[in-house]
Point group: C2
Chain length 165, copies 2
DNA sequence: GCATTGAGTTCAGCAACTGAACTCTGTAGC
DNA sequence: GCTACAGAGTTCAGTTGCTGAACTCAATGC
């Protein structure tokens, strides 16, 4: 992880990945969401090294994705909770989990989700305006207000203005 | 990247992350989707080291997420394309990009998407059954057919059967 | 008192990533 | 026929990041 460096990319995907773009961080967030929210429980659940977990939790708190809820002082003990931005990541992690169910677990889901509507959850990413599912074929990209030909999107800018894709 | 080891987790999220759980891979997939699909173009666009890109492309092809389309033999030149499983990742990457727009780019999108319906894209993850948006509050998790108390979900299994979350 | 729990810190050894230089095959220009 | 260039890599030394095990420290339980 080159921690910092992706943040400067003119690309929100890179900026997202700067915080959650490693193998452990999404798993940590999933654990916190599922209620495995204390340091030792996360270590036990994931088998992550303690040094790395210390590092990642501090990063996630610093970046406003997790909060610490103190449940005892002296010695300080905290439970990690999701902030608003952290909660908004959950559906995305669920979508990625279900992609894994389909393509990497042979269709056998190790974990199943139920939606409040009562149905076993099948998630899909859809367009907020028309409600229909988003597929790679139904999308067009173009540079937005924050765009520029900076590292991370150097060639993309050319491509898009040339009208490809 | 500990390449291999996450694949054994009884967790589809971990298995997904085993392939795309690093900082570069999602950016490579986004580039290919946007038409930046040859080796040198990706290097120029991302500034990724050539050795690492070689490695990642080979992994993605091996795992069936990218395909190679030969556009010249001798010397062999290929264009990378998304397979079905790769295409299914695109909406998820878009959702993550828009999360980054909201939380990490101060609302200024470097890249904007238009949906086929004509609207500027606002993506959301929704329930396939009822169509309403999925939020972290509207979900319940429970162990599925492929579940067991294996590394990656050791403690989660306990938590869920105890009825937490 | 002594063991246990929870949340870390420290550190040596190893694996992964970076950056720069180099290779190899073929095309284009003159 | 020679030189320059492009495209897709490979090689490698140096650095950064991760792992695993052992250790610390405060408090509680027995």
């Amino acid at each position: 992880m080159s921690r910092r460096r992706f943040a400067e990319f003119a690309c929100s995907l890179a900026r997202s990945l700067d915080v959650i773009g490693d193998t452990w961080t999404p798993l940590i967030l999933r654990d916190v969401f599922l209620g495995v929210d204390t340091f030792n429980d996360i270590v036990r659940d994931l088998g992550i090294s303690r040094a790395l977990l210390t590092d990642r939790l501090a990063l996630l708190v610093r970046e406003g994705i997790l909060d610490e809820a103190e449940y005892r002082e002296r010695p300080r003990r905290v439970r990690y909770t999701l902030t608003d931005s952290g909660r908004e990541l959950v559906p995305i992690l669920v979508a990625l989990t279900q992609w894994g169910d389909r393509w990497r677990s042979g269709g056998e889901a190790p974990l199943e989700f139920t939606h409040d509507c009562g149905a076993p959850l099948e998630s899909r990413v859809s367009c907020d305006a028309c409600g229909s599912p988003i597929t790679s074929e139904s999308l067009t990209a173009r540079p937005g207000p924050g765009g520029r030909a900076a590292p991370g999107t150097a060639v993309i800018a050319e491509h898009l203005s040339r009208g490809r894709t």
